[in-house]
């Protein structure tokens, strides 16, 4: 016998429900009338769409810019071999609306950045199943910016899930009220990179040889040709070049699979972890919209490789210092060596630090423009600063403002010369 718990719980107050909870049929009405947005139709996204549809949501939208690849089929269960090459959002939406009657799923095949505030303001909440830090930062900043203190409906809860192998996390972000995605960026590790001098002069690991092939040899042999990371012939070429270099230096371990992994920064991914994290996220979505029980406050970490272990805790807001949700004139303080150049400051600090991590930043102070990527005239005019020392360009009491086309906000920071 199958009994769906939803119809029961909306009628009765439970021992853990909030005091303000008013049971009744209006709860289900509200659930069915609410519009929810799913960002990502991949490993988590497929699960999320299924879960929301079976949780009683009737109006679901989904955005994804990717098309289906053969390597998705080990976990993205709404796709079949015949779907390879088709947009994920469209295929996933069609599958779930066909399977679960009475649920409308509206797909959008494209980037989240193509949609504006007006679009996002139609939703009651957003559930994210992404593998990109950049996209998460973007949607987080947008939702925080959309909050109008006078209008509680402008607060759109963001439920964010992420997985990596047997590990993952699920969290609830109530913009401007609880810790936001930007507040927790420093929890990510510093990105693994290999110094160019090691790659060029003293390779030790198979990864060094692969980077040599992709960063140095490719440009030399195919000047002006962009490396296509999804093209198997390109990967095969890199693999052969890397292998040759490895043999020359007696380094072992270069394989096709490792080459592909390093070049595409592949993260292992399995159905079971995605199921756990997506379910945790959608359980929160249901509780937030119906109030039948309290929702997660605000972070659950999951580790499944050694038994099963979860750690649930309240991640603290960076009240002042968060560049996105901070209330004060918050800024980050970055310690740098006295002799660092602007160029090294950009490539070794701004591009690598987990709490900054910009791809093509432009920098200015109140006094002057340090470096601008655009327009071309300004880029040309400021390029000569790159070789100058930071200490000659900026004082410790000056604020640097950093903008990046990938971020819908600017970052402010101050320097501390070691």
């Amino acid at each position: 016998m199958t009994i769906n718990a939803l119809d029961r719980v909306i009628e009765i107050i439970g021992p853990f429900t909030d005091e303000s909870y008013v049971p009744g049929p209006h709860v289900k009405e509200f659930l069915e009338n609410s519009k929810v947005l799913v960002i990502g139709a991949g490993g988590l996204g497929c699960e999320i769409l299924k879960n929301l549809a079976l949780s009683g949501f009737k109006d679901i939208h989904v955005i994804d810019m990717d098309t289906i690849d053969i390597s998705n089929l080990n976990r993205q269960f709404l796709f079949r071999a015949a779907d390879i090459g088709k947009p994920k959002a469209t295929v996933a939406a069609e599958f779930v609306s066909k399977r679960v009657k009475g649920v409308k799923i509206t797909p959008y095949f494209g980037k989240i950045q193509e949609k504006n505030e007006e679009y996002y303001s139609q939703f009651t909440l957003v559930v994210c199943g992404l593998d990109s830090v950049e996209a998460r930062r973007w949607i987080n900043a947008l939702l925080v910016n959309m909050v109008d203190d006078e209008n509680p409906e402008s607060i759109k809860p963001l439920i964010d899930g992420g997985t990596e192998g047997f590990k993952g996390q699920a969290r609830v972000i109530i913009p401007t009220i609880s810790s936001c995605y930007e507040c927790s960026l420093d929890m990510l590790g510093k990105q693994q990179t290999y110094p160019i001098c090691t790659i060029a002069n003293t390779p030790r690991l198979p990864e060094h040889c692969i980077e040599w092939a992709s960063e140095l040899e490719w440009v030399k042999v195919f000047p002006g040709k962009k490396l296509d990371k999804d093209n198997m012939e390109n990967i095969q070429w890199l693999y052969e070049v890397a292998l040759q270099r490895a043999n020359e230096f007696k380094i072992t371990g270069v394989t096709y699979s490792l080459t592909q992994g390093v070049i595409k920064n592949i993260i292992p991914s399995i159905a079971s972890t995605n199921a756990v994290i997506a379910a945790a996220c959608c359980n929160e979505a249901l509780k937030i919209v119906t109030s039948v029980n309290p929702y997660l406050d605000n972070y659950m970490m999951y580790t499944g490789n050694e038994g099963v272990y979860t750690y649930t805790f309240q991640h603290q807001r960076k009240e002042k210092d968060c560049p996105v949700c901070g209330k004060g004139n918050g800024y980050l303080t970055v310690s740098i060596p006295k002799d660092i150049t602007l160029e090294d400051f950009i490539t070794e600090e701004l591009m690598l630090r987990p709490d900054i991590k910009v791809k093509s930043p432009s920098l200015r102070t109140v006094r002057t423009v340090l470096y601008f990527q655009w327009p071309p005239q300004l880029k040309e005019a400021t390029e000569r600063n790159l070789s100058k020392k930071m200490i000659e360009l900026v004082n410790e009491d000056e604020e640097i403002v950093i903008t990046d086309p990938a971020l819908p906000f600017s970052l402010r920071l101050r320097l501390f010369y070691e």
């Binding site: 016998m1 199958t2 009994i3 769906n4 718990a5 939803l6 029961r8 719980v9 009765i12 439970g14 021992p15 853990f16 699960e47 299924k50 879960n51 079976l54 949780s55 053969i70 390597s71 089929l73 976990r75 079949r80 399977r99 679960v100 003293t202 030790r204 690991l205 198997m232 230096f249 007696k250 380094i251 096709y256 699979s257 592949i266 292992p268 991914s269 399995i270 159905a271 079971s272 972890t273 199921a275 756990v276 994290i277 997506a278 379910a279 945790a280 959608c282 359980n283 249901l286 509780k287 029980n293 309290p294 997660l296 499944g304 490789n305 050694e306 038994g307 099963v308 272990y309 979860t310």
Partner: protein, 524 residues
């Protein structure tokens, strides 16, 4: 060579359990008793990665209510056998998996003495009366077939792995590096001594691997301290000072690495306690021809550590992490570690062959790949022994968890576990699992409390347990898809570990509290 289509399909998981794990998974056959939402979600997560075969055992027909909870039934399937529909819709997920539907009552099957359970690698049982689960768990226990028992109610989920024993070599620890800075062997010492730091030009000096630096400074320290290593915190601080004083320039990464690794020398290389326990396990006392390879390998490992030449040490993993160095010196150092590891494997193989001979087994009956993997991972072996479901409430783990819960200031998850278990026994007693079974109501509250008292004697219910009872009653024996899916994820993950013989399995009980977003595990 570019990967095959199959390897491309499974790429994201092969990076976790490799070809050996995949082959083991593909050779497995998993049975599901009851095509419940939880059961189907769990099967989905096994079929996608490519389990070889699955069998769904269920004798009921798809009802409209099933569609609200289970994704693997569709509109057209109402009135058809659940086993057949679930088998078809789940089977679509992977062409390489073979599915079977058995239109039969699971409880009747459990009572059928002629039924062949041996063809299954793992059995999953969900939403079936507790007495049937107990019966099945005893049958499978005797056959050493793992059973996964899982159910959900409202925002709660319960799962238990009932498995006699699993021994795992490939546990995937964070790192396999074993530097042995406190016990260098002759080749490593010779290599270290070949460096004359004072005469090196600064560029070469900056590329001396930190392992060499540390060993050199240990040597220097020892000659000034009667041959003793820096032992106390104070001595290690002085040792750091020694390293720091020697550096010729401030920006030397290899010296930074040496300083950051001083803590390693304070940890004497020994056999970890977990591994010592495995070496002293009674399983190796009476080995015979039929004994599992794992225990034969463990006995050889014990002889290895007892051999005078090995100084009580385990075989070396031979794994080195990256460090600041030029290519030649790094590769040379890596080769020294690898060669020592190979020498250990070689000696281990000799001991193993002697042992195999004693057991009347041919010397090649354990492959060299298996031996290498065993030696490489021998610091991180895992033996997980489960217990029977029948001993749950009398187990040591149960008693201590109960006592601990009384001290807990907040709602202790153990109370949630107790309530969930009493609920299941209540359903069993009251025949709620029939075709037109009734729902639990507030009138059942007293019965739940009484049952609690009779099972968990001599303890009466506490308010924390009563709270969970009232939440359960509130949901009227109903389920949420999200909770089913969460538990299906956990169940599949644990089965993947049992089937691939990799990673460390759950031992043995977990509950998920979907109200507070927490899980907790116990060994019961």
């Amino acid at each position: 060579m570019p990967p095959s289509e199959r390897d491309r399909k499974y790429d994201r998981q092969l990076r976790l359990w490799a070809g050996t794990g995949q082959a083991a998974l593909e050779a497995s056959h998993v049975a599901l008793l009851n095509a419940s939402a939880t059961g189907c979600e769990l099967m989905k997560n096994l079929i996608l990665p490519g389990v070889g075969e699955f069998t769904i055992i269920d004798d009921s027909l798809v009802k409209p209510d099933d569609l609200k909870l289970n994704f693997f039934f569709n509109d057209e399937s109402v009135g058809s056998p659940r086993s057949v529909i679930a088998c078809k819709l789940l089977g679509e997920l992977n062409q390489d998996t073979r599915g079977h539907a058995l239109f039969q009552n699971p409880e009747v099957l459990i009572n059928d003495v002629d039924f062949q359970w041996d063809k299954f690698s793992v059995v999953i049982i969900t939403n079936i009366s507790e007495s049937s689960v107990r019966k099945l768990s005893n049958i499978l226990w005797n056959k050493s077939i793992p059973l996964i028992y899982v159910y959900t109610v409202g925002f709660y989920g319960y799962l238990r792995v009932i498995n006699r024993e699993i021994t795992i070599v490939d546990t995937h620890p964070e790192s396999l590096v074993d530097l042995r800075l406190d016990q260098p062997w002759p080749e490593l010492i010779d290599y270290t001594m070949s460096f004359d730091l004072d005469s090196l030009p600064i560029l070469d000096y900056a590329h001396v691997p930190f392992v060499v630096l540390i060993l050199k400074f240990i040597d220097q320290w020892k000659s000034a301290h009667n041959g003793l290593m820096p032992g106390t915190y104070e001595e290690r601080t002085q040792f750091k000072q020694l390293i720091n004083d020697a550096r010729k320039a401030s920006d030397l990464e290899n010296f930074d690495e040496a300083l950051a690794s001083v803590w390693r020398i304070s940890q004497k290389t020994t056999i970890p306690p977990d591994i010592l326990a495995i070496l002293n396990d009674p399983s190796i006392d009476n080995l015979n021809e039929e004994s599992p390879d794992f225990w034969v390998l463990v006995k050889a490992l014990k002889r290895f550590t007892e051999a005078p030449r090995n100084n009580g040490l385990l075989p070396l993993s031979g794994v080195l992490f990256d460090m600041k160095a030029d290519t030649n010196n790094y590769i040379r150092l890596q080769t020294i570690y690898r060669e020592k590891s190979l020498a250990d494997v070689h000696f281990f193989t000799e001991l193993l062959n002697e042992l195999l001979l004693e057991l009347n087994r041919p010397s090649s009956s354990i492959s060299s790949e298996e031996i290498k993997l065993f030696c490489k991972n021998c610091r991180y072996l895992n033996v997980t022994r489960g217990s029977k479901l029948d001993s749950e409430f009398s187990s040591e783990g149960f008693r201590s968890a109960y006592e601990l819960a009384a001290f807990s200031e907040n709602h202790d998850p153990f109370y949630t576990y107790l309530a969930l278990r009493v609920y299941s026994l209540f359903l069993d007693k009251n025949w709620y699992y029939s075709e037109n079974g009734k729902q639990i109501t507030s009138r059942d509250d007293v019965e739940l409390k009484n049952l609690f008292k009779s099972i968990i004697t001599p303890f009466p219910t506490v308010p924390a347990v009563e709270k969970v009872f009232s939440e359960i009653i509130r949901t009227g024996s109903g389920e949420f898809h999200n909770i089913c899916s969460f538990m299906g994820g956990i169940g599949a993950q644990e089965i993947l570990k049992l089937l691939t013989w990799q990673y460390i399995p759950l031992n043995n009980t977990i509950i998920y509290d979907g109200i507070f977003g927490t899980t907790k595990t116990w060994k019961l």
